[in-house]
C-alpha cells in the first residue's frame, strides 16, 4: 500500500489544499473520476466540519492511502467531544437547528463513501477514516471449463488468470450459498488479493484446472475470516478441503494473526480444525432461514485476557467461556448513570448480496436505545434482514450498550476470542 500525507492548520483557508490533495491522490491511486469526486466531497465536508468544531491553533494530519481496490483518507486530530451523531446512517438533518445544519455536511460525507470508521489512536488522538472502493465491471459471460473429479491435485497461490477463473467459477458452483459480493468481480478479487488484505489458495490438477480454493481476509491485525473451502465438482473430496485449510493455517502460523474465524462454512469445512463458537441465522426471506454454525480457532496458545461483561449476558458469556475453556478474567460491570454524552454513534457496514449489515458502536451516548431502534427502522425499510451488532468486551463502555441491544430484540450469538481489543460478542437481531 502507498500513502501520502499532509499536515495543515485547521482553518477553512486550507480547504482547497485538502480537496486538491485528496482528488489528485485518489486519481493517482487508481480510483475512477466519479469515485474520486465522492471521496473529495466527503473529505471536504469532514474538514469543514472539523474547522467549525475544533477551536484554537490545531494541526490536522490527513493521510491518503492507495489500497489497490480502495482509497482511504484518514483525518487524525486531537480528541474532542464532537457532535459526530451525524455519522449515524440514521441521521437526518433538521432545518430548525443551526447545530443540525452544521452536521449536515457529515451526513453527506457518511453517505458518499463505502465505509466510515472512527477510532482512538495513541496519544489522545482520534482517527476518522473514509474508504471509497474502486468500481469494477461485471464479468462477461464466457464458457467455463468442465471440471472433473480430481484424485490428485496440487495446492498453489493462484496467478492473476487463475484468480479471475476462480471468481467466475464460484457463483456458478455456489449459486445459493452466501459469500461476499466482491468475489463475483474478477478484477476486484485480483486487486483484493494484491492488497494483502485478502489471501487465496487454490487446488489444481495436472492440466491446471481449478478444483477448489479458499479465501481469507484480515478482519483486523489479529483475526482472519475464512471463506470456503469451495470445491468445484469435487463432491466428497474431503482431502482437498482439508489440504486447503491446512495450507492456509500453515501460511498464517508465524504471522501476527492469532485467530481464524468462519461465518459461512461450506459443506466440506473440516470442523476438526476448528471449534464451534455459536450459530447465526441467515434470513433470506422472512420465511426462509438457514442456520450457520460459526467456527473459530486460535493459532497461538491462549495466555488469557480480561473482559467487561454486563449482568444481562453474564450467564451466556460465562457458559461459553466454560464450554470453550477460555481463560478469562471477567469483570462484571453495569452502567451507573455516569456522563456519557448525549448522542451515540454507530458505524454500519453493508453487504447487499448477503442482505446483511454489521453495526459497530463508535461512541457511547444517552440516546443509545433510540439510536438502535432508528437503525432497525431504516434496515427494515431497506428490507435488510440480517442485522448484526458487535460488542468489544475489552472496552468497558461498549458493555453498557448491551442492555439497549437486548431490549431491542438482539441476542448474543457468537463470541470471537480476541476479535477486538479483547473478545468480540456478535449479537443478531431476530426479525
Amino acid at each position: 500500500m502507498k500513502t501520502l500525507k499532509i499536515s495543515t492548520p485547521l482553518h477553512t483557508d486550507f480547504l482547497p489544499v485538502i480537496t486538491t490533495f485528496i482528488e489528485n491522490s485518489s486519481c493517482v491511486f487508481g480510483i475512477d473520476k466519479q469515485g474520486a469526486l465522492k471521496l473529495t466531497l466527503a473529505s471536504e465536508e469532514v474538514f469543514s466540519y472539523l474547522c467549525k468544531v475544533i477551536q484554537g491553533d490545531k494541526v490536522l494530519d490527513v493521510i491518503c492511502t492507495g489500497g489497490i481496490y480502495f482509497v482511504s483518507v484518514e483525518f487524525s486530530f486531537d480528541k474532542i467531544e464532537l457532535g459526530l451523531q451525524a455519522f449515524n446512517i440514521t441521521a437526518t438533518p433538521s432545518s430548525e437547528s443551526e447545530e443540525s445544519f452544521k452536521e449536515m455536511g457529515l451526513l453527506i460525507a457518511a453517505r458518499s463513501v463505502d465505509s466510515l470508521s472512527l477510532e482512538e489512536a495513541s496519544g489522545e488522538r482520534l482517527v476518522l477514516r473514509l474508504i471509497k472502493e474502486k468500481s469494477y465491471p461485471s464479468p462477461e459471460a464466457i464458457e467455463l471449463p468442465d471440471i472433473p473429479p480430481m484424485a490428485s491435485f496440487a495446492l498453489k497461490i493462484p496467478t492473476v488468470d487463475e484468480i479471475k477463473m476462480f471468481s467466475r467459477l464460484l457463483p456458478v458452483h455456489y449459486k445459493d450459498y452466501p459469500f461476499p459480493d466482491a468475489f463475483r468481480y474478477p478484477g476486484k478479487l485480483v486487486d483484493m488479493v494484491s492488497s494483502s488484505i485478502y489471501g487465496i489458495s487454490i487446488a489444481t490438477d495436472e492440466r491446471g484446472l481449478i478444483g477448489g480454493g479458499i479465501i481469507w481476509k484480515r478482519m483486523n491485525e489479529k483475526i482472519v475470516e475464512f471463506f470456503g473451502p469451495y470445491l468445484f465438482n469435487q463432491k466428497g473430496n474431503n482431502k482437498m478441503a482439508e489440504s486447503l485449510v491446512n495450507a492456509c493455517l500453515e501460511g498464517l502460523a508465524r504471522t501476527e494473526i492469532i485467530g481464524a474465524f468462519c461465518r459461512y462454512p461450506t459443506e466440506v469445512f473440516p470442523t476438526e480444525y476448528f471449534e464451534s463458537i455459536g450459530i447465526t441465522t441467515s434470513y433470506q426471506h422472512q420465511r426462509n432461514q438457514i442456520e450457520f454454525p460459526c467456527y473459530y480457532r486460535q493459532l497461538h496458545e491462549d495466555t488469557g485476557t480480561y473482559v467487561y461483561v454486563p449482568g444481562t449476558i453474564a450467564s451466556f458469556i460465562e457458559a461459553e467461556y466454560k464450554r470453550l475453556v477460555l481463560p478469562r478474567q471477567v469483570y462484571l460491570t453495569d452502567y451507573s448513570g455516569e456522563y456519557r454524552g448525549d448522542y451515540s454513534v454507530f458505524a454500519s457496514e453493508f453487504d447487499r448480496e448477503l442482505n446483511q449489515v454489521i453495526i459497530r458502536p463508535l461512541l457511547p451516548g444517552e440516546d443509545c436505545l433510540t439510536n438502535i431502534l432508528k437503525h432497525l427502522e431504516i434496515f427494515n425499510n431497506e428490507r435488510i434482514l440480517n442485522c448484526f451488532f458487535e460488542i468489544d468486551l475489552g472496552i468497558v463502555w461498549q458493555a453498557y450498550v448491551v442492555d439497549s441491544l437486548m431490549e431491542c430484540g438482539f441476542k448474543p450469538r457468537i463470541i470471537i476470542p480476541y476479535g477486538g481489543k479483547s473478545d468480540l460478542v456478535i449479537f443478531q437481531y431476530t426479525p
Binding site: N246, R254, T255, Y273, F274, H300, E301, D302, V325, P327
Partner: protein, 367 residues
Amino acid sequence: MRPLALNKLVPSYIKSFEAYIPSKPDEELKKLYHTPFIHRLNNNENSLGPPPAAQEIIKKFPPLRAAIYPSGDSYYLRQKLANKFDMHPDQFLVGNGANEVITFVVKAFCQKGDNIITSDKTFAVYEWVAIFSGFEARLVPLRDYAFDDEGMLERIDKKTKIIFICNPNNPTGTYWDKERIKRFLDRVDNRNIVVVDEAYFEFVEQEDYPDCISLIPEYPNLVVFRTFSKMYGLAGLRIGYLAGNLDVVNTIRKTCVVYSVNAIAQEAAHAALDDIEHVAKTRKYVKEGKDFLRKELIRMGLPYIIGEGNYIMIRLPINDTLAYRKLMGQGIMVRTMTGFRFPNHIRVTISGLPIMEAFIEGLKKIL
C-alpha cells in the same frame, strides 16, 4: 509536543514482524486455568533438573559474588570445552542460550539483500532472527518430516550466507546421518556458512548420528550449536555455545555481546559437562517414557511422530490450541504445533512415567 512518529522510525520488516509472546508465569496460568499445579511438558526441559554437581554450584553460590561481573567471555568454560573436544578455546563462543548465538552468527555474516536458508517446519528462531534483522528467510519444506538437502541446495544463490540445519530436527526428531551431512557439506563446498544446531545431541544414541564438532577441521564453513538447556537442565540460567573454525569464530566474536552469560550459568555448565551418569539417567527415563507413549497412543489410535530428542509429536482429531486449553485445565501444559506449521499437532516433552501417565489420562478425557 508533536506525537511520536513511530511509523517513520520503525523499519518495514519490524512492522510486519510478530513479537513472540512467551507464556505467562506458572502462578498466573494456574489462576487463569483454575488448576492447583502445572506439569510443564511444553519446552523439552529435563525433568531430572541439572546434574548433581551443577546443583551444588547453584546452591553454594556466594550471594556477594552477585555484585561482581562474570567472566566476559566464559573463560574457564571455554577452556573446558577445548579440552573436551581437543580444540582451541577460541574456537568456542558462549552465549546467553543458543538463541543468542544464532543472533551472533546472523549479524556476523548477513548484510542488506542477503538471505538464509532453513526449513519451514523447524525451530523458529533461525527464521525469526533473519526476518527481524531485515534479511530473507528461505524456507524449504521438509521431505518425509526431515530436512530436504536437495531442496536446500537448489535455493542457494549468490546472496545466501547461512544454511541452518536442526539435527535432530525439533519437532519431528528426524536427523541426517554422518554420510548425509558430509555429502551436503561437500556440495556446499565452502560457499556458505552451514550451521548445524545440535541442541538435542546428548539425547541421541543412534550409531550413525554425527558428532558435527568432530567435522570442523574438515569443513571450515561448519558452525555447530550446542546448549545446556536440554540435557543439562540449565534452561533457567540461559547458556549455550557454538564451535567452529578459528577464523570463522573470530569473525563471529566481533558481533558477540560480552558479559551476557552470568557467573552461576558459567560455573554450573562447567560442572555439568563432566556428568556422564546424568546423561545415562536422562536417556533411560526418556526411553521409558517414549516406550510408554508409543503403546498408549497406538491403543488410542492417535498418529504420532517420534524420533530422537526428548519429545514426541502427536496428531490430534481436534485443533491443537483447543487441546492446549483443555489440557491446561487439568494442569498439563503441552506445546501447540500450529506455530511450527503443523496444525492439529501437539509436541509433548518426555518426562517421568507418573507424569506421562497423567498426560495420557488427561488426553483421554479431552478427546
